[in-house]
């Protein structure tokens, strides 16, 4: 059984990226050779990787995957990477824990099984290592020597680290007012780090203009001119979740939305697993989670719109603070197609949810994880998410990166002199 995500490639690809055959426009279907392209020359629509995925017995493919390394390269036959990718210098992210969150489930009233996909376990402590790992291989294939990106923080660190490991130079761009933890994590790897006086959308615009200028020549911007490849890294979240559930689809997933790319690629990954016969074909629902202070997609969802009106972000969830989300319209399509929803929570609810996850499961999530847990709680309260079904909630980053969010309300229970009387007087014994 051959699976084609789009029609047969019009042109023979000039680079070897595994099963990838071409780039295809999501809007008009026009096809292009594999290359550092990201927008359709006809309609400006986003380009995505088209494949000729493995054919044959699903059980053999499962065995091949299960015998692979404990990182995303176990899924190399489904990704736009060279077949010998596991031998190349890369951060080798992925295969993070899928935590069965029984205590959180009890708090939220979930009876059908609640899991947290904890991507804080990646090399630079966010899911961004997955997408960057794929982009590194594309950058290598296309002969780039410098890696770059526009970033809300996590990506800058992931690019900086991956560049060092893979032998690239790096120059990354961030809004000037990011959390200190993310700035340090982006700077420590030694590449150039540039703060832009503006918000993420301003940074993104700047990078898009830099690509078209001789100043940016020879640069691979992982989330701009390498974006079709980069995005595919998020499919590995879908693959891992299903494999870790015993090759089963979850009934419901709650996924954070920044640009919306991750959510759309998880959906793509789930559909591929069904098409390949690796999981049973059954319905699943995808829920998107945003912060109220940057909620262009949830606002559009609730209003019944199919276009997303940009917003000026103002939220503590800075990793999700993209006011003009590129994949917003596709998120709306997916939430509606699968019977899911898009919801948002305010900053106070985000902090409460970070603490809820921490005290029930021992997982310290960054603000984006507070958004998904908070939205899960709200969706259950509103009757939109069925607590009797298997549900997976994503935590995409480490709480150590966003200490500011919880620092004002997280401190010592008491400060005492070093003697037993003081301890007794503080009322903490027993």
């Amino acid at each position: 059984m051959a699976v084609h995500s789009t029609e047969t490639a019009a042109n023979t690809p000039s680079v070897a990226l595994g099963p990838a055959t071409a780039l295809s426009c999501r809007e008009c279907g026009e096809r292009f050779d594999l290359g550092p392209l990201f927008a359709c020359a006809t309609c400006f629509g986003p380009l995505e990787v088209a494949y000729d995925l493995p054919s044959g017995d699903p059980e053999s493919l499962k065995k091949q995957i299960e015998a692979g390394p404990d990182n995303i390269w176990r899924y190399a036959p489904l990704l736009p990477v060279p077949t010998d990718v596991a031998d190349k210098p890369n951060l080798n992210p992925g295969f993070t824990k899928l935590v069965k969150a029984d205590r959180l489930a009890a708090e939220l009233g979930v009876t059908g099984g609640l899991y947290v996909k904890d991507d804080s376990g990646n090399p630079t402590h966010s899911f961004k290592d997955r997408v960057v790992a794929i982009a590194v291989e594309a950058a290598r294939a296309f002969g780039f020597t410098t890696l770059s990106c526009s970033s809300t923080g996590n990506l800058a660190g992931a690019v900086g680290a991956a560049a060092r490991r893979a032998g690239f130079k790096s120059c990354v761009f961030i809004p000037h007012d990011l959390e200190a933890g993310k700035v340090v994590m982006a700077a420590v790897y030694g590449g150039d780090l540039v703060g832009i006086e503006g918000n993420y959308d301003d940074v993104n615009r700047f990078c898009s203009e830099l690509i078209g200028d001789p100043l940016g020549e020879g640069w691979g911007f992982v989330n701009v001119n390498l974006r079709p490849y980069y995005g595919e890294g998020s499919k590995t979240l879908a693959y891992e979740i299903c494999e870790q559930l015993g090759w089963q689809l979850p009934d419901q997933l709650v996924i954070p939305i920044a640009s919306g790319s991750q959510l759309t690629k998880i959906d793509k990954g789930l559909k591929e697993l069904i098409a390949l016969g690796l999981v049973e074909d059954k319905p699943y629902k995808i829920f998107g989670a945003q912060a109220e202070g940057c909620s262009p997609v949830s606002t559009a969802f609730k209003a019944g719109h199919d276009v997303v009106r940009p917003q000026k972000p103002k939220t503590i969830a800075k990793s999700l603070a993209i006011g003009n989300p590129a994949d917003g319209p596709y998120v709306l399509d997916i939430a509606r197609r699968t019977g899911g929803a898009v919801e948002d929570v305010n900053d106070e609810q985000i902090v409460d949810a970070i603490k809820l996850l921490a005290r029930t499961e021992g997982i310290f999530a960054e603000t984006a994880g507070g958004v998904t847990v908070g939205v899960t709680k709200k969706l259950i309260e509103d009757g939109l998410l069925d607590p009797s079904l298997t549900t997976v909630v994503l935590n995409t980053g480490d709480g150590l990166k966003t200490l500011d969010a919880v620092a004002p309300t997280s401190g010592p229970t008491a400060t005492i002199r070093p003697n037993l009387d003081a301890f007794r007087a503080a009322g903490l014994a027993g």
Binding site: A41, D201, G212, N223
Partner: protein
């Protein structure tokens, strides 16, 4: 009103490879019409069949995203910079 228009790589086939061209017009709509006069075919790449900005095109007048302003009716003062950028980036 003369403005400078930054052209994205994928539209430079219409401008003979130029990354920046000048155009006339008091509003973005007029600027695009003037671009079309001198670079035939470019308007259809930026606007859809109903004459609206395509879903995946961002246009800035100076530093302002026109979707936050008056869209195609956004004023383009003399000397302004207009940037046409593919929307699908970032994240």
């Amino acid at each position: 009103m003369s403005v400078k228009v930054r052209i994205p790589t994928i539209l430079r086939t219409y401008t003979g490879g130029e990354a920046e061209v000048t155009a006339e017009g008091a509003t973005l709509s007029e600027v695009i019409a003037d671009l079309e006069k001198n670079h035939q075919g470019i308007a259809a790449r930026v606007l859809d069949d109903t004459g609206k900005l395509r879903r995946f095109v961002n246009v800035y007048v100076n530093d302002d995203d026109v979707r936050f302003e008056q869209g195609l009716e956004t004023a383009t003062p003399d000397g302004a910079g207009v940037s046409i950028i593919p929307a699908v980036a970032g994240g």
